[in-house]
Each structure stands twice: as C-alpha cells, then as structure tokens.
C-alpha cells in the first residue's frame, strides 16, 4: 500500500525519485489541503473506494492506515 501511494505521489508531484516514507508529512511535500484532495481522488479511482479527507491526515502513513481500513 505504501508503495502504491508513493507511486501516485511521485506521479502527482512529477518527481520519480522523491524519497517518501510513512513518516513523511504532506506539509514536507508542500501539499496543501486541496492537493491532498486531488491525491485522494486519484487513489479513490485506483482502489474503487470513497475516501473522506480528514483533517487528522498529517503523514503518508496516516493515509496508508485510512485506506487499509477501507479495503
């Protein structure tokens, strides 16, 4: 799951070598709340699920846990 999100993020940010770990925060990636919504829309399409963007999403790991809980 982390790998999939890493790939979507790298495509989204147009940087194929970007280092992303579970502890990476969206703020570090310079993603604001609407960028996060765009990212979530890509992931919704990829997994065929509806993901509600929560304000508690701070790190990539938070998003991994949220999606794993929905699958």
């Amino acid at each position: 799951m982390l790998e999939k999100i890493q790939n979507v993020l790298r495509t989204h940010l147009d940087n194929e070598t970007l280092e992303i770990t579970a502890a990476t925060t969206f703020e570090e990636l310079d993603l604001d709340s609407l960028d996060l919504v765009e990212l979530v829309m890509s992931l919704e399409d990829e997994f065929g699920i509806g993901i509600e963007v929560e304000e508690t999403l701070v790190t990539v790991g938070d998003l991994v846990r949220l999606i794993e809980g929905l699958l």
């Binding site: 604001d32 709340s33 609407l34 996060l36 919504v37 765009e38 979530v40 829309m41 509600e52 963007v53």
Partner: protein, 331 residues
C-alpha cells in the same frame, strides 16, 4: 451519479441568449483587508482559491443589483418589460423571504408576467436555463433570467476557511427562441451534510430547540471532489451527444475556486485560454458567477458569433448542471 433522464436538448425548442447584464456592489474587499480581520493572508487565499478581491453589499441592496443587471440585459435584447413572458430569479434569498426577489424585480421593472424564484444554489443559472427552455418550447418569446446572490449575508465572518471565498453580485440574461442549444442537463445528488446554510429557528413558543444564528457550512474537500466530478460528468454527457472537448470554444465554469477550474482543464487537455476566469475579482457569487462572467466576455468581445460555449455549475443540494450552446450568427 450517472443519469441522463432530463438530458433532452435534441427534443427542445432552441434557446438563444439575446442580451446580458451584470451588476456588482461598490464596496471592494481585498485579501489584505480580510487579513486584518481574520488570521489569513493574501498568499494563503490566492494559492488555494485564485481570489484576490470580492465585492460586498453595504448600503446597496441585492434588489438594486438584480434590477440593474436585468435592465442592461433587456436593453441589449431590445425587449421591454411588457414583452416578458416570465421572470426567473435564481437566488438563495432576496431582501425578503416573501415576496420573492423575482416579484420585487418585476415590480421595479413594471412587468406583470409570471415571476418566481428558483433555488438550486450555485447551479441556479443552469436550472433557470432549463426552465426557460421549457417555457420557450411551449410558446413563450422572452424569458428574463436573473441570478442575484448576497453571499456576504450567509457567510460566517468568523470562519476564515469559508468567508474569504464569497462575494455578492447579480447577472442577467434574456433568453429567446433561436440559437443552437446542443446539450442541457440538470441533476441532483441529494446530500445536505457537506454544504448547507441552515434556516434560523424563529421564536415559536412550541419549538423546543432554539439555535443561535446559523451560517454557511462547507466541507471544502468533499465539495471539491463533487465539483470536479460533476463538471466532468457534464462533459461526458455532452460527448455522448457528439460534442467533443475540442469542439468547445469557451468553458464557462461556475467560479467557485480557481483550483476546481484548473483540475477540470487538466483533465480535458484543452488550453487555458478556453477557461476564462473572473473569480480573482469577484469571489464565489453562487449562481451569479456564470451570467456575470458571460456578460463580461460578451462586452469584451471574447464571446463571438459561431462559438460553442460550455456552461457547468455545481452547488449545495448537491445540484449540478451543464449546457452547450452555439452562439448564432444573428446574435
């Protein structure tokens, strides 16, 4: 969220826009001015919304703006108030809950035809076009559509996430038979949680729960998702009617957030010049955004005869709609 049940442009009498008008309040509020009232900044607002300033009602009224916009549209269409068959006013709320804003405007204009308000939130212009097309189909000659919104009355000016987004204003069009209506579709995806403005409770001694004054509530992320999907759905429906992305000369999309328009544009692969914006100067004026932008584009000569325009809007309800109209040679 896929439905085509009202999409019947092919079966309709055509609709042309014979005149446009717009009116904005005098008072301009910049992001810097808001930054002095709230914990926000010009940079924060611009990067997330594309908005730099908005107009807000002070001593002017939404009725006055509606009447000014209507008079301009009527003058351009060379139609007088007595020739109108119906006045449709899209608004969340005029200066009075009753009479409707449409009736108040009819009085100001000296019209005696049917006049009523339509509340489809930000998608109101497309809803009004749909109703207008049906009136025209059944014999009407002139339909006046006015979209007039005083969002500054509904916004919560203590909520920095939402109050910065909105502005006040009015736009109007006169619709007549003719032109080439190629797609018109409206729909709802009922959801009152992610975007709403509750009514106030009144003072009935029999109602137990009294609430403090209520303002606009929005879950921005969820509304963003709906908005992008709703516009793409309208483009998909238009494509099924044989209208492809490259056939459209101007994408006139509800000006709610620059980022929504950019997200749609990226997915269409069409150039930025096809996606006009005025949100930087107006903020989100709910249903008034499309007719105000259309008026500005008409006045500047950007909208030309023979062009195909795509209108799309989305709002509380959740409502959405799309329309494809080719501007006739005679318009």
């Amino acid at each position: 969220m896929d439905s085509e049940h009202i999409n019947s442009a092919a079966a309709r009498t055509n609709l042309r826009i014979a005149g446009t008008g717009a009116a904005l309040p005098e008072r301009c509020v910049t992001n810097d001015e808001l930054s002095r009232l709230l914990d926000t900044s010009d940079e924060w607002i611009v990067t997330r919304t594309g908005i730099r300033e908005r107009r807000v009602v002070t001593t002017d009224t939404i009725t006055q703006l509606a009447v000014t916009a209507a008079r301009q549209a009527l003058a351009e269409a060379e139609v007088n108030a007595e020739q109108l068959d119906v006045i449709l006013c899209s608004t969340l709320e005029g200066d009075t809950k009753t009479p409707s804003l449409a009736c108040v405007v009819a009085g100001e204009l000296g019209a005696h035809c049917a006049a009523f308000d339509v509340n489809a939130a930000c998608a109101g212009f497309i809803y009004a076009l749909d109703i207008a097309s049906r009136y025209l189909q059944t014999g009407a000659s002139n339909v006046l559509i006015i979209c007039a919104e005083q969002m500054s009355r509904h916004a919560d000016w203590t909520d920095r996430r939402t109050c910065v987004l909105f502005g006040d204003g009015a736009g109007a069009v006169v619709a007549q038979r003719g032109g080439e209506l190629r797609h018109l579709h409206i729909s709802t995806d009922g959801d009152d949680a992610i975007l709403n403005i509750p009514t106030n409770s009144g003072n009935s001694p029999f109602a137990p729960d009294k609430q403090p004054p209520q303002f606009l509530h929005m879950d921005g992320g969820e509304v963003y998702k709906f908005a992008v999907k709703a516009v793409l759905r309208e483009l998909d429906l238009a494509a099924r009617s044989g209208i492809n992305a490259e056939d459209i000369d101007l994408y006139i999309i509800h000006q709610a957030n620059r980022r929504i328009i950019d997200a749609v544009r990226e997915r269409t692969g069409q150039p930025p010049e096809k996606f006009p914006v005025n949100i930087d100067r107006t903020g989100n004026m709910s249903s008034a955004t499309i007719p105000v932008l259309l008026h500005e584009l008409t006045q500047s000569g950007t909208v030309k005869s023979g062009q195909t325009l795509f209108f799309a809007a989305f709002g509380a309800g959740l409502t959405s709609g799309g329309c494809v109209l080719t501007i006739g040679k005679d318009d």
